[in-house]
């Protein structure tokens, strides 16, 4: 049949993964995260938060209204920016932020996740997740604004601090389970041998790395409002700003997915069965829920912490987080030596 290749191309599972889960899923999660962030902060701060748009839903429609506003808002492009980079960087950053999702399996059934069950999925997902900050730096640099440049510089400093922590702490899972395949990592943790229990140190380091990489409190340094206005995004408005802002939430979600698989046991204790419901829907829901818990916890931190100074954040990373990550890695090697997972 001539149609078969075309059909295969359209129904190509990785494409679906990016389109359905990657785009719509991250969008939904970003919306929930933003809503929760505003609502939780409001509760801690003894306010009500979003309310009037839909009192019955706790003001959730407010987030949608905000998105509509961002999209319809006038796009103001200052005359002095480097136009091509200015347009492309935020959009590319957003897309690259979603890309790791292709390599993140939400089920162990290979018929639903052919790409994700390849043997180096963890490595590739991690590698892809380190790309967007470069584009953010480009966005700030192209803005031709002093605050944006300072923000970009800060971003580049922070990258040097968290990258190593993120990679070492998450790869400690590979050290323990002796595989780079996320499906195998999850299967090794079945049913309750979760790495968060067996190796909490690496988990702590990984969460610290996520906080830094997505500029969540207390490491909200690149866009620290009271010195650099909005950091790299100072000159952005309208839809392009929404890409920038949404990108941060998407990256947070992607990291949370990886952590949910690696440390929180993915779909464990559930064992995916055949068929779309048991093999696809239920395990994905479990994983997304676990990831959501991490995202919401990160959102909650905004309400209780201030922000560190740049040098203190770097110091915290090099003095605390990197040793933690290395200790976690060593701990994992010990786990592998004892043979907990085999």
């Amino acid at each position: 049949m001539i149609l078969d290749p075309i059909l295969y191309l359209i129904a190509y599972p990785p494409l679906w993964q990016v389109l359905i889960l990657g785009f719509l899923g991250s969008l939904a999660v970003a919306m929930v995260a933003i809503w929760f962030e505003r609502k939780a902060a409001a509760r801690v701060q003894r306010r009500i938060g979003p309310y009037w748009a839909s009192p019955a839903l706790g003001g959730f429609l407010n987030i949608i209204a905000d998105m509509v506003r961002y999209v319809l808002q006038q796009l103001i492009i200052p005359g002095t920016v480097d136009r091509l980079t200015f347009y492309v960087a935020p959009i590319a950053a957003f897309i690259v932020s979603i890309l790791p999702v292709i390599f993140i399996p939400l089920s162990s059934r290979p018929e639903f996740w052919p790409v994700a069950s390849m043997d180096y999925s963890l490595l590739i997902a991690l590698a892809l997740s380190t790309l967007p900050p470069l584009l953010i730096i480009a966005a700030g640099w192209s803005s031709n604004n002093k605050f944006a440049v300072i923000g970009s510089m800060r971003e580049s400093y922070v990258i040097t601090a968290y990258e190593l922590v993120a990679v070492v702490s998450i790869l400690s899972a590979s050290a323990a389970t002796l595989t780079f395949n996320l499906v195998h990592i999850v299967d090794a943790q079945q049913p309750f041998k979760w790495l968060i229990i067996l190796n909490p140190i690496a988990f702590l380091a990984a969460v610290l790395a996520v906080l830094m990489s997505t500029s969540a409190f207390p490491f909200e340094i690149p866009e620290s409002e009271h010195e650099v206005v909005a950091g790299p995004y100072t000159e952005y408005s309208g839809a392009l700003y929404a890409f920038n802002m949404g990108g941060a939430y998407v990256r947070r979600f992607v990291y949370a997915l990886i952590i949910a698989l690696v440390f929180l046991g993915g779909w464990a204790p559930y064992v995916p069965g055949p068929g779309p419901i048991t093999g696809y829907v239920i395990p994905s829901i479990i994983v997304v829920l676990k990831a959501l818990i991490i995202v919401l916890f990160i959102s909650f931190l905004r309400a209780v912490y201030g922000r560190y100074r740049l040098d203190q954040a770097l110091g915290a990373a090099w003095r605390l987080a990197i040793p933690l990550a290395i200790v976690g890695f060593g701990w994992s090697l010990l786990l592998a030596y004892i043979g907990v997972f085999h």
């Binding site: 509760r43 801690v44 701060q45 003894r46 306010r47 009500i48 909650f300 209780v304």
Partner: protein, 179 residues
């Protein structure tokens, strides 16, 4: 006992244990309020505050009490109050119209200091306890003598419920619906 100076020292405890402890304190307090928020937000158009008597709000003029002394216009610190000259016909002497002076107010300038109310020798001016009124254009804020004598309608009263705030020992400001 007279006041005295007291020299204090910052409590600079360091160490991992203290750090972990204060982190836990911080997070625990955040979670406590996350679970049990003690809000005092006023849902404005649906609720409005009923202020105590004595609140310095809009000013109403009682023409019958006024003796046209102009003290209110003279003491007004922002020159919001002005005297206007009107011709009045006394019902007893309809053939002899009299010239009288009465104050009018310009809410573009008024700062609600209450000097005019306090200086009026006959209590011809009084405050109503609110000032959330919307004018559609600036010219409307310059009240005419007639407008100055009617108590304005609060916009919130049409759809909102009155509430009062009370100081509570545990929760700070507590909102109470007034029945």
């Amino acid at each position: 006992m007279p006041p005295k100076i007291s020299l204090k020292k910052l409590d600079r405890r360091g160490g991992l244990f203290e750090g972990v402890k204060s982190n836990i304190h911080t997070l625990a307090l955040g979670v406590k309020y996350l679970v049990d928020p003690q809000r005092s937000t006023l849902l404005y158009p649906k609720e409005y505050i009923e202020h105590r008597p004595g609140y310095r709000g809009f000013i109403i003029f009682i023409k019958d009490k006024c003796i046209s002394c102009a003290a209110c216009a003279r003491i007004c610190p922002s020159a919001a109050m002005k005297m206007v000259r009107v011709t009045e016909i006394d019902p007893k002497h309809p053939d002899k119209p009299r010239q009288k002076q009465y104050p009018v107010i310009n809410y573009q300038r008024c700062i609600f200091c209450g000097f005019c109310v306090d200086v009026c020798p006959t209590e011809a001016l009084y405050h109503v306890p609110f000032h959330d009124i919307v004018y559609e254009n600036l010219a409307d804020m310059f009240l005419s003598l007639e407008m100055f004598q009617v108590e304005p309608q609060r916009p919130a009263t049409s759809e909102g419920l009155p509430v009062v705030y009370e100081v509570d020992e545990i929760k700070g400001l507590v909102k109470r619906r007034k029945s």
